[in-house]
Symmetry: C2
Subunit: 212 residues, 2 copies
């Protein structure tokens, strides 16, 4: 309990700092390989076209592979390697945020460690938790890993281009998710084909407007 209290007070400090600069902060989570970095590639491209200033904090156990994939966008990126921790916590994010110039950002997206369990337990100063479920994982995941879906504001159903090759039932997935969290906003998309990305971008920009 003390660990969580200490974490939450650091998270509040981060929120305050980001709010002072009206930076929207998103905590992006999923199982490993659901498509978070691919989503970032598509999202950063479009946000830049809209004239938004984007920063990214990448969280991984090891390697800079994800940050390397995003270097081509020439935006501020901080890579955190946890070494063994299966989630990001507020202390790690405070250090990363302190190394960024928040006065130059509109949106900060934090890509968490690939894990459908522990990242959902930690506040890290974000305005919203956004989780991603890919159609290849199975439509019952909201029931089997409930906390992730309960804590998130948005569920992105990704890899819709693969739907014809799976037994994923999208209505079942939606109703399972809504049973766990009736307030969840759900978007279906494909980060490979670009299908459904406009609705996601619309949600993101409307959240930013709210912050101003």
């Amino acid at each position: 309990e003390n660990i969580m209290e200490a974490n939450d007070s650091i998270a509040e400090e981060i929120r305050g700092k980001l709010a002072a600069h009206q930076v929207l902060a998103i905590n992006l989570m999923s199982a490993p390989g659901a498509g978070k970095t691919t989503l970032l590639e598509q999202t950063i491209q479009r946000l830049k076209e809209l004239g938004m200033r984007v920063g990214v904090i990448e969280g991984d156990i090891a390697t800079t592979r994800d940050a390397d994939r995003l270097q081509k966008f020439d935006i501020p990126i901080v890579q955190i390697n946890t070494g063994s921790a299966c989630h990001l916590d507020a202390n790690m994010i405070r250090n990363a945020v302190n190394s960024l110039d928040c006065s130059t950002l509109d949106i900060l997206i934090i890509e968490n460690v690939g894990n459908l369990v522990c990242p959902a337990e930690f506040k890290i100063g974000e305005d919203h938790k956004v989780m991603m479920l890919s159609v290849t994982e199975g439509d019952e995941k909201p029931l089997k890993y409930p906390l992730m879906f309960r804590e998130s504001s948005v569920m992105l159903i990704n890899k819709m281009d693969l739907l014809p090759y799976t037994n994923f039932n999208i209505d079942e997935a939606r109703s399972n998710a809504s049973r766990i969290n009736p307030h969840l906003t759900i978007f279906a998309l494909s980060c490979t084909t670009g299908e459904g990305l406009d609705a996601w971008l619309g949600w993101l920009t409307s959240q930013l407007m709210k912050k101003h």
Copy 2:
């Protein structure tokens, strides 16, 4: 450290009990939705045809969905719901093993909680850790989540039927995995089409013979 020591001594107790009955114990791990339960459906069917006596311990955060899928095989199954823990530990397995009659089993397969990180840290009395990577997750996962690959004896590359629709490079995945663990035995398979399952069954039965 003390937690791990206590865990390891319980794990040794479990190993001793299973060895006394010459039961081969496998700790099956993967990211959520890689195909562990589907593999069990295929594997149990074939082991029964070979006259083997199989038991399963299912580990999940919530629901009995996975155990329910295996009820049709009429084998001993114990479902563990952790509630929040992202991995199984030796204490949970000791209780589950004590509720089984090991004298009636040849092979015990423990399906761990879907998580590519923490389950690899715990000994639970198994003879081998077997991990599964599906082609839809990405070929760089061995580098990004190294412990899972380092601790495992076998890596199963699953969902090979989806390979044509992904950018997964199987040679890259093999070389990434071998870089992390040169002793890793690697099988490529599809639990949906049945491709590659014979080699996996061959490995499993040969490990059982070694135990006798």
